[in-house]
């Protein structure tokens, strides 16, 4: 087993003993978690386990009451806000797909592109050949080239999920947090999403929260099971799903 000090020196994301409570209710209860560079990690757990809240903490939306949240070994994320953390290279897909509905698919990606985000830089921005190529590349990755001029409002639920993943790619994050990406997708779309996420994880770390066990199996990666705000079990999918605590708290339900 690694000791804490050993893991700290090579982690991309490091959570230690993080707790947060809402009106006395402990949503996260001394949670510790380490994500390595280049790792694809799946997180499962019953409703209300604190999976989304954990992402809120990592991305600066919620401040933890206690505990450490460290990015790239040195950066204390609890001191930063959402915009800072996004610029550091942490992208996030929401549980409810959130895209800019009154913009086209193309514009959604253009806005997400990792370029200077200041007021004047965006006022005087013109699309460069490089940016155009990058957007086209992402359109291919998320398989939406033929729908690039479509308003995002008219996409199906599954397509919005993909567009949002595309926007995260445009952001060029080092760490991608993906909350329930296959909710509302057909089986075919779900399988394709697993392929897409594995592809994405080749160049960056990805943390996926999902309830769909078939999908988790498809990913074939290390799984962390959360319950009541802390880690119940961690390991391969077979290891985790045979753990009696996991069966009792989650799978057995």
């Amino acid at each position: 087993m690694n000791t804490i000090s050993e893991t700290r020196t090579k982690s991309l994301l490091y959570l230690e003993d993080v707790s947060v409570s809402f009106d006395g209710f402990k949503a996260i209860n001394s949670l510790s978690l380490v994500v390595e560079p280049g790792e694809l990690r799946a997180i499962i757990g019953p409703n209300g386990a604190g999976k989304t809240t954990m992402m809120d903490i990592i991305t600066g939306k919620t401040r933890p009451d206690t505990g450490k949240v460290i990015f790239e070994d040195t950066i204390d994320l609890t001191k930063k806000d959402e915009a800072d953390i996004a610029q550091l290279g942490i992208g996030r897909k929401f549980q409810k797909p959130t895209v800019f509905e009154s913009h086209t698919v193309w514009d959604n990606l253009e806005l997400a592109l990792n370029r200077s985000r200041g007021v004047f830089a965006t006022l005087f921005y013109t699309l460069t050949a490089e940016d155009k190529a990058r957007i086209e590349e992402i359109l291919v990755t998320i398989r939406m080239t033929h729908r690039k001029d479509e308003y995002a409002a008219n996409l199906s639920h599954g397509q919005k999920q993909w567009l949002e993943i595309g926007m995260l790619l445009a952001q060029e994050p080092k760490l991608l947090l993906v909350d329930e990406p296959v909710a509302g997708m057909t089986d075919a779309e779900t399988a394709e999403t697993a392929v897409l996420l594995r592809e994405i994880a080749k160049t960056r770390s990805v943390v996926v929260v999902e309830h769909d066990m078939g999908f988790i199996r498809d990913l074939g990666v290390k799984v962390t099971c959360l319950a009541e705000g802390s880690v119940l079990a961690e390991g391969s999918i077979d290891f985790v799903s045979s753990d009696p605590k996991v069966i009792e708290n989650y799978l057995g339900r």
């Binding site: 959402e82 996004a86 959130t98 800019f100 253009e110 806005l111 990792n114 007021v119 409002a153």
Partner: protein, 391 residues
């Protein structure tokens, strides 16, 4: 860079609107000055003054559209920025009176002499100089918007709460300006203006120029607003309106985006107020009344928020209606305004221009779908969704 920014503004509708405004800026004063009063084409001075007033209101509505229509900030205090711009202009005009006041004091406006003041308060310094006064027309509303927005947006005050504090802001300013010891003329405000840049305010030629300037400034601000909303920044603005947290998590500083827009909008409102005051001949604390700011919201909603052109049309139509109603049946105006707002909210939520645009886009999409149906190719198969897309 700057040229690209401006060129982008000149999309079809905007070019037409700017063209119309520039034509109005020339034709209306020409018809007023150059045709004899008995001519069928003559525009009487009072009509031109009324139209000039509408143009100032239109600029105020455009200012509100920038923050409300594009950024989702429902300001119920834009009347305050308008009034502050108006006061800056009013103070300049007061200083131009010089010793022609009732008390003949060359340095102090009449109301200060009346209050037994011995010298000019420091905040009146420099306002006898036109360029300085014009700078104040922009700076004072801009600074208030900056300070207000700095605190409000940083603490993430949103929605109804923000609307309520903007309303409180204009109300507080109204109470302050009503006080004589504030040094802005108390409840009488500033009036009895004589000259602007050495020309008589009441003279026909001056009125014509003021009218032309109103149309011209409205056109200019429309171009700037269009350039802003059509840039990438404008797309971010709409993003803030529709999904603020998405924008934040993409790494944008939402508070700065809102702050910039709010300040620009306040400056537009200040310009509108400054043009308004010499044309109506008075500025008093009543301009800060909370109800005024709410009326601006009605104009904008009627014309169609988020369209830039809509609020201009809305402001002109509603105010023309107001002039008619307050002349014909004064007691009904407020009911008519309230009824109009309810009717628009229920039956025309996109406003006049929004509804027209919507119909137009739907037709285009239907046509595109029909065309694609003819030359059916797999990749771009038309769907019901595409038709809805335009909506």
């Amino acid at each position: 860079m700057i040229t690209g920014f401006i060129l982008r503004a000149l999309e079809g509708k905007i070019v037409i609107a700017v063209g119309i405004l520039l034509a109005v800026a020339i034709i209306v004063p020409a018809l007023n000055l150059l045709t004899p009063p008995d001519s069928a084409f003559h525009i009487p001075t009072y009509v031109m003054a009324l139209m000039g007033k509408y143009l100032c209101y239109a600029l105020l509505a455009l200012a509100l559209d920038l923050v409300w229509g594009y950024c989702g900030i429902l300001s119920l205090g834009h009347g305050a920025f308008f009034a502050l711009g108006g006061y800056a202009m009013g103070m300049y005009l007061m200083r131009q009176i010089g010793s022609r006041g009732v008390y003949g004091n060359p340095d102090l406006p009449d109301f200060m002499v009346f209050l037994n003041w011995k010298e000019l308060p420091w905040f009146w310094y420099g306002l006898d100089m036109f360029p300085f006064a014009m700078a104040m027309v922009l700076i004072v509303p801009g600074l208030l918007a900056f300070v207000f927005g700095w605190f409000a947006f940083r603490s993430r005050v949103n929605g109804v709460y923000l609307s309520i504090i903007t309303q409180a802001m204009t109300y507080a300013l109204m109470l302050a300006f009503f006080r004589n010891d504030m040094g802005f003329g108390g409840n009488n405000g500033l009036t009895d203006f004589k000259d602007i840049l050495g020309f008589q305010v009441q003279a026909g030629g001056t009125r014509a120029v003021l009218f032309a300037m109103s149309a011209f400034m409205l056109a200019l601000c429309l171009i700037v607003a269009s350039a802003i909303t059509r840039s990438k920044f404008g797309k971010v603005l709409v993003g803030v309106r529709d999904a603020e947290s998405r924008v934040r998590f993409l790494g944008f500083r939402v508070e700065n985006i809102k702050l910039f827009t709010f300040v620009v909008s306040a400056m537009f409102a200040g310009i509108a107020g400054a043009l308004f005051v010499p044309q109506v001949g008075i500025i008093n604390p009543g301009e800060f009344a909370p109800a005024n700011s709410i009326e601006v919201v009605v104009w904008t909603a009627v014309g169609g928020r988020g369209t830039l052109i809509g609020p201009i049309i809305g402001a002109i139509l509603v105010n023309a209606g107001k002039s008619f109603f307050t002349g014909a049946f004064p007691e009904f105006w407020l009911f008519a305004l309230g009824g109009l707002f309810i009717a628009v909210t229920l039956f025309l939520p996109k406003g006049i221009v929004g509804t027209i645009q919507h119909g137009w886009n739907a037709r285009k999409a239907l046509k595109a779908a029909a065309d694609a149906e003819k030359g059916r190719d797999a990749g771009a198969a038309p769907t019901v969704q595409q038709v809805q897309a335009a909506e």
